[in-house]
């Protein structure tokens, strides 16, 4: 369970302040898949960084299972847009990285790593270096790496932002597949409205200046989300609703 209570984050600029988040409150249930969509500058990455423990709120509280977030921890896995794989380590060693930090013995590490590498369908590349992988494959390694330390929460910051549109659709389906087999609470940040609706139980639409929640849209579409779901009129209706919430914010404000 994630709760944000009146979270405010202000970055000092030269002679003014930038309000990245102004009083954001939000609750996310266990095993919920929540996407956050909004224009740049709406504070969605800041929101994620606060939950990851990479930034601290100026005021307000970020709680995970009732305890305030103090720094990063293996209970919250993070997946970055730029993949952030360690280029000098093979796929398997990347996936084992967090397990090693936890002190898991070597044989056990290998077993867990292999399980998650298989889950993202990269068993043929377990001993390859990241430089030999495509962008989509790198991101799947990053997902396996985050899963391997068994976090209860996955925080994903525009993970598919740098891959082409076709790969993106496949990665979305695969992510849902993985999530279906290994349920976690997911907070997924994107600027792609289709992606936000396709993946989520709930879409949080944010607005900028100051960063705030503009609207929350429940997505009552069934899982597994197949192609039929993606092409259904219900999907289209939700997508249109989120689209207007994202793109017509100025008129609302």
């Amino acid at each position: 369970m994630i709760s944000l209570r009146h979270v405010r984050k202000v970055f000092p600029l030269k002679n003014e302040e930038f309000v990245a988040l102004g009083d954001v409150s939000l609750e996310i249930r266990d095993n919920e898949f929540v996407t956050v969509v909004g224009p740049s500058g709406c504070g969605k990455t800041t929101l994620m960084n606060i939950l990851a423990g990479l930034e601290t709120p100026t005021s307000g509280q970020a709680l995970v299972d009732g305890a305030p977030v103090r720094g990063p921890g293996p209970d919250r896995g993070v997946i970055f847009q730029q993949y952030a794989l360690f280029p000098w380590l093979t796929v398997r060693k990347n996936v084992e990285f967090g397990l090693r930090e936890k002190g898991v013995p070597s044989a056990e590490r290998k077993r867990i790593a292999d399980h998650f590498i298989e889950l993202v369908g990269l068993e043929r590349f377990a001993d390859a270096l990241p430089k030999t992988l495509s962008g989509g494959m790198k991101q799947r390694v990053a997902i396996a790496r985050a899963y391997a330390v068994n976090p209860s929460i996955l925080l994903m910051d525009e993970p598919f932002g740098a891959v082409d549109a076709l790969t993106r659709v496949r990665l979305q389906e695969q992510l849902l597949d993985t999530w279906d087999q290994e349920k976690r609470t997911v907070l997924f940040i994107t600027h792609d409205v289709d992606e936000a609706v396709f993946l989520a139980n709930r879409v949080i639409v944010m607005a900028a200046r100051p960063g705030r929640i503009a609207e929350i849209v429940d997505v009552a579409l069934p899982y597994p989300r197949t192609e039929e779901v993606r092409l259904s009129p219900e999907f289209a209706a939700l997508r249109n609703r989120v689209w207007s919430a994202v793109h017509h914010q100025e008129s609302l404000a």
Binding site: A52, G53, P72, G73, V78, A84, P87, E101, V149
Partner: protein, 247 residues
């Protein structure tokens, strides 16, 4: 049809030897390749060249390795802790503008004419190249990689050992190669001033007797040794940093 690179390299070397030979027979006052070769064989035969090479290599390696061993931790500290950098950087920038050779007179006065001043100036040359490279390497480590390690539960010391060191290793290795180059450059000059043995010394004493073949043997030995050591480091670099995306 494309000619292999190694074939072109060989052609270039042979052509260079040919030009040298042609110049020597055309009346220019330089010894021809066979004369130099004969002198090299003589110098190898009586042990002079071997002794000189050992003496020079020992100085270069001692100075170079001491420089690297000192530069890597200092560079890491400077890159990791901004106050350390602020304290040390002015001195490094200052000494960088002084060619190590310019310190030889001072080094001789303070340390005598034995090995110490020679090794010291070589040490300084390699230290200065390597420390800047290490610092750059640490400063350039991708913040996202550090964050990725932190969210996977890594503490500061493991981030240092498992992220910062490998991520900056390409910079350090380049710094080592530059440092090796300046070590050689400094060595010869150091030996020119005061030595009883060594390639630089041998060339200088040959100069007194107008002994051009020996000077050529010395020059070629330095070139070949420098090149071999550089290739060796290059192989290490390729091995250790083959994971890099861009190459």
């Amino acid at each position: 049809m494309a000619v292999p690179k190694s074939a072109l390299n060989l052609v270039s070397v042979l052509a260079g030897l040919g030009v040298w030979w042609a110049l020597s027979v055309s009346g220019l006052d330089i010894p021809s390749p066979p004369v130099v070769l004969r002198r090299a064989i003589d110098l190898i035969g009586d042990g002079t060249l071997g002794g000189d090479v050992v003496a020079s290599l020992r100085r270069v390696l001692a100075g170079f390795l001491l420089g690297v061993v000192a530069a890597v931790p200092v560079g890491f500290l400077m890159g990791w802790y901004p106050p350390v950098r602020a304290l040390i950087e002015p001195w490094i920038q200052f000494f960088r503008t002084i060619p190590p050779l310019a310190l030889i007179p001072l080094a001789i006065v303070l340390m005598g004419i034995e090995e110490t001043p020679k090794i010291f100036v070589i040490f300084l040359a390699s230290f200065l190249s390597c420390v800047i490279a290490t610092l750059q390497g640490v400063v350039n480590v991708d913040r996202t990689l550090i964050n990725a390690a932190r969210v996977l539960g890594a503490k500061d010391h493991t981030i240092f050992a498992r992220v910062v060191i490998p991520a900056s290793s390409p910079f350090i290795l380049v710094g080592m190669r530059i440092g090796l180059g300046s070590s050689w450059a400094t060595l010869v000059a150091a030996e020119l001033i005061a030595a009883q043995q060594g390639l630089g010394y041998r060339m200088q004493s040959a100069q007194l007797y107008y002994d051009l073949p020996t000077i050529f043997v010395g020059l070629i030995s330095i070139g070949v040794l420098g090149l071999l050591m550089d290739r060796l480091l290059l192989i290490c670099e390729r091995r250790l940093t083959s994971w890099q995306e861009t190459r």
